[in-house]
Symmetry: C2
Subunit: 401 residues, 2 copies
């Protein structure tokens, strides 16, 4: 008997039909002799609708109250899921995050899980229930409701799998697994049977949109085997685990991310402490700086260019304006029509041919490279956003055929 945690995202529980579909998947695993815990997200656009309701009242609502509001979304879907399981003839019980024992810190809207008291879930599993848990949420020490942030249901599922020592954590979604590129855009994109945590982390943070990054980090930390599966077919998908089998294919995927902007700080003096003045200020606000390029400007000054998430732009501009005196820049330029295209795979850094093949493929596709960044398992290039899909296809063709 195995214990399986199954997570169903918003699109997989969006309506009655899909709820029953998910319930049947859980029931099948249960019939096969497994203990089953489902973690569900809010239905379809529910969370967005709730955010819009709050926005009509206050464009900057209290985060505590937002969490109070948003946690209702998953509470609705977990109760409906339990009803569907009952209708199919299975014992089932739904639980809110706090009933399921999710204790978090007090960072409303982006709380971190401190621990999970699984006693209640264990009891209900022993009673032969399929347990349905509301994802994305918990309570803090004051008994106030918290949420784990967007996509937090993945994190709920992986954390729960770790706490329950589950044999598998299946993340059901609307794709068949993790692909070497977006299959809707790139002909010949291939589904991966396996991928390592590190590779998945690079793919997730690069906009592959299959798994939330935090959930993969957590899975790596507690060595939870994740499988990404389609909720439409329930076919074997992609397993994410610590050590993957040796495979012929070096490259695990090609992704693009257009939710970034590039900022250039021009004409800063060539003296120590300037880069620190810039990046420490951004870090303090939790702004994630990605590719950084420092280059000689005119008159012995330096130009510093870097990318940040589009959503952090307004805050970054404010921070840099506030720090103007310390940064001593002449001008800040913004490029917002950019995309980061990345190729991910283990051993890339030790294979010097990869980079030159990328550059060759992009050159042949007529794509101009603005910046380059490399790591142990990925190479990213910053290009004009209009070229992004073409660049992904060109690189994918070069390596994966």
């Amino acid at each position: 008997m195995s214990l399986i945690v199954m997570k169903f995202g918003g699109s997989s529980v969006a309506n009655t039909e899909k709820i029953f579909n998910a319930a049947r998947i859980a029931a099948k695993a249960y019939d096969e002799g497994n203990e089953v815990v489902m973690v569900v997200s809010a239905q379809g656009d529910t969370t967005d609708d709730l955010i819009e309701m709050a926005g009509k009242i206050d464009d900057n609502p209290s985060k505590r109250e937002m969490d109070m509001l948003l946690t209702t979304g998953e509470q609705i879907s977990c109760s409906l899921m339990a009803m569907a399981l009952h209708k199919l003839g299975y014992k089932s019980i739904s639980m809110t995050g706090w009933q399921a024992g999710f204790l978090t810190d007090s960072h409303y809207s982006s709380a971190r899980i401190r621990r999970i008291d699984t006693e209640r879930i264990r009891t209900e599993l022993d009673e032969k229930n399929i347990v349905v848990v509301a994802g994305f949420q918990g309570i803090n020490r004051s008994d106030d409701l918290t949420t784990l942030g967007r996509g937090g249901s993945d994190t709920s599922a992986v954390a729960l799998a770790a706490a329950l020592n589950a044999d598998m954590c299946r993340i059901y979604t609307d794709v068949e697994g993790v692909f070497t590129a977006d299959p809707r855009k790139v002909k010949g994109a291939v589904k991966l049977d396996e991928i390592s945590f590190d590779e998945m982390l690079e793919l997730a943070s690069l906009g592959a949109q299959v798994l939330q990054n935090r959930s993969v980090e957590l899975a790596k930390k507690y060595n939870v085997n994740i499988e990404v599966r389609s909720s439409l077919t329930d076919n074997p998908g992609t397993v994410v685990r610590e050590v993957t089998k040796m495979e012929g294919m070096l490259i695990k995927g090609v992704t693009k991310d257009t939710a970034i902007v590039s900022m250039s700080i021009l004409g800063v003096p060539d003296e120590p402490g300037i880069a620190f003045a810039i990046f420490s200020r951004l870090a303090k606000c939790g702004i994630n700086v990605d590719i950084i390029l420092q280059s000689e400007g005119n008159d012995g000054t330096q130009d510093i260019t870097f990318t940040i998430p589009k959503s952090d732009l307004a805050q970054a501009q404010q921070v840099l304006a506030d720090g103007k005196d310390a940064i001593k820049s002449k001008e800040i330029k913004l490029y917002d029509n950019v995309a980061k295209v990345s190729i991910v795979g283990a051993g890339m850094a030790s294979n010097s041919g990869v980079a030159s093949r990328i550059f060759g493929a992009l050159f042949e596709a007529g794509v101009n490279i603005m910046m380059i960044s490399t790591s142990e398992i990925k190479i990213s290039v910053l290009i004009n956003a209009n070229d992004a899909d073409r660049a992904v296809a060109a690189i994918h063709d070069e390596f994966i055929k």
Copy 2:
């Protein structure tokens, strides 16, 4: 400084504008130096919408899961209300039923409050917050969510007022107070300044739809002063309290209730135990039987006629079919186009003229009486539903002018 509990029903928080309107009423009381606790219902049709969602999955869903589902409605409105108060510049915090300390028994969908731990609310009041509590809900000993049944927010408010030893419990609604008859239907209907608990109980159970009966019983038990006010005007409404001032007017109101059906069980043997066989079965299912009439049938048999709420009809029919052998009836007849019209006021039983004046008024209005029931403070007649409004007007004219 007074402590005021204010309850706002679904129509009083149905949209952004109404939420702000309710928030302003609370803020005004707060500015006048009072401690304020708001109890809110789910917005507008939210509860019905949730019931419909569940109905698509299972036409007889688990009551535990229904409560899990329905409690989200009030959680949404209490968080939105706190946001609105923040926007108006007031300190406020929202609480679910369980956060507010509502501990109930385990009768899902119609739980009774066991006690309220008001510690958290007290703390937040001491912090100068306007506290917004989700009505209608609590938790049981197993930490599962429960609801108090339809209209339970009134009960939440009165129970909270009792537990907090509040000075006043204001029930905000969309009418100016308690009227001698439905002011939309009866010309000359008069708003009452005061009414006793007992009189209010009769009016509430008779479909006056102003206050839920249970909340009035609770208010009577703990001697909580209730005031029914309009959330549109915030003008003084009707105070419900133990002893009312002597008033010239004997009659407190005329009401109609069309949400009932009359059942006739025909041809049961004239022997002991038959009435018990019928009514004990109905009581076991929690079906409230109202007016009962027993009359001689043909061949020495008896006919037993009684009224029940329309919503209990299917269950009553099932129960009676199951008990067919014990009840030994020849036929069960159903009259579903009936209405109960009642006149309420203290001292009615001791005033023999009242009944005959009612019958006279109905006779002149051409209304035929099917059944009659009297108590210390009310007289009810069962009539054809088509005559209901005319009957209310005729009786109102006779007594209140």
